[in-house]
Symmetry: C2
């Protein structure tokens, strides 16, 4: 067994358990026994539980930022003109799924971890999240804002949070929502079907006019 095996086993078990139960609700004993490693391994390899939480989080958000940045580079150099709202939203989601495919990870898990990070406003995760992906975040937001020059910036900012909420909330409950749908309508939706439904909804949300 190599060194990296232990670290990876811990990260995998921790990702799953954190997403399932929450950070405080998951003890190191639960994680280490699920990962089949010694209790002390977490503190040895990561230093502390808090550092493990950050590591789990970074494993998702790091590759995502890289993918999004690359994708934005590609699209900006290709088409000299401005990007549209819908193409920017498409870029966002395709970057998300591309990064998840690379790290062989679960979209629902990532969304749950994101939701938990926001749920605790006091939490240290918000700060480390801003530090880690603040630049990519800003870049994307500026581009999106440019597609809607007539919208008041404060209004626009609020609508962004509406968008984030719709995405994180629904995708992080993907499994349980699907369970309800299967019980009530006899059919469920694949993740990509949900995203295909989410994208035009977000577009409608960002424009936000009553009809």
């Amino acid at each position: 067994m190599k060194q990296s095996d232990t670290i990876e086993k811990i990260l995998n078990a921790a990702s799953e358990l954190f997403a399932e139960r929450g950070y405080s609700e998951t003890s190191l004993r639960t994680i280490t026994s699920a990962a089949d490693v010694n209790l002390a391994a977490v503190n040895y390899h990561f230093g502390s539980k808090r550092a493990l939480i950050k590591a789990v989080f970074s494993r998702y958000i790091g590759p995502f930022c890289v993918c999004l940045n690359d994708s934005l580079d590609a699209h900006q150099s290709k088409s000299g003109d401005e990007l549209s709202v819908d193409s920017l939203i498409n870029i966002l989601f395709s970057s998300l799924f591309e990064s998840l495919k690379i790290s062989n990870a679960n979209p629902e898990q990532f969304m749950r971890l994101l939701g938990l990070a926001y749920a605790q406003s006091q939490g240290f995760l918000r700060h480390s999240m801003i530090e880690e992906y603040g630049a990519t975040y800003s870049r994307y937001m500026v581009l999106l804002k440019e597609t809607m020059p007539n919208v008041d910036p404060v209004d626009f900012y609020w609508r962004l949070f509406f968008m984030m909420g719709a995405t994180i909330f629904s995708l992080s409950s993907y499994e349980s929502i699907n369970g309800i749908l299967k019980a009530d309508f006899g059919r469920d939706s694949s993740m990509s079907e949900v995203v295909d439904l989410l994208i035009p909804s977000i577009s409608g949300l960002l424009h936000g006019t009553s009809r």
Copy 2:
């Protein structure tokens, strides 16, 4: 000091602290010392921490369901014809704020508690929430669905979760979002301004067409 004072003091302190930090992150000692009551008071009056969490939750969601039901009754008896999407959304939010006014409570606090309840998919709160407001929830959803007869029911259900996500996520972070806005644009939004922005956005989201 009457008996009910202790119970109320505990509920008030617990609401604030739970919304701020989360359920597991708030100890009974923190709550009781903030409420200025004895540590044993929680177990004496509520039985357990879990029961206190339920009680805090019910204090918000109970009156909200009553208000929403009453409001639906009033509108259905008044106008014989069907309600529109926008009027139903308006009813939802005005019921929310009416119930909060009655219980002299904070909308952001309620939204945070709601978000936390959803964040923990394993959590017992989801079950007790469905039991408590499942009937009102269903009634409202059926009415809303009737306003959009051409939309596939599964699609409609997903859009509802998009709507809930946008609402809960943004309103539960109202303070911190406003902090960012004030820093970046020099002005912030009142809660009712945000809701006025949210309502047409939700309308756009529910119809969900790209433009």
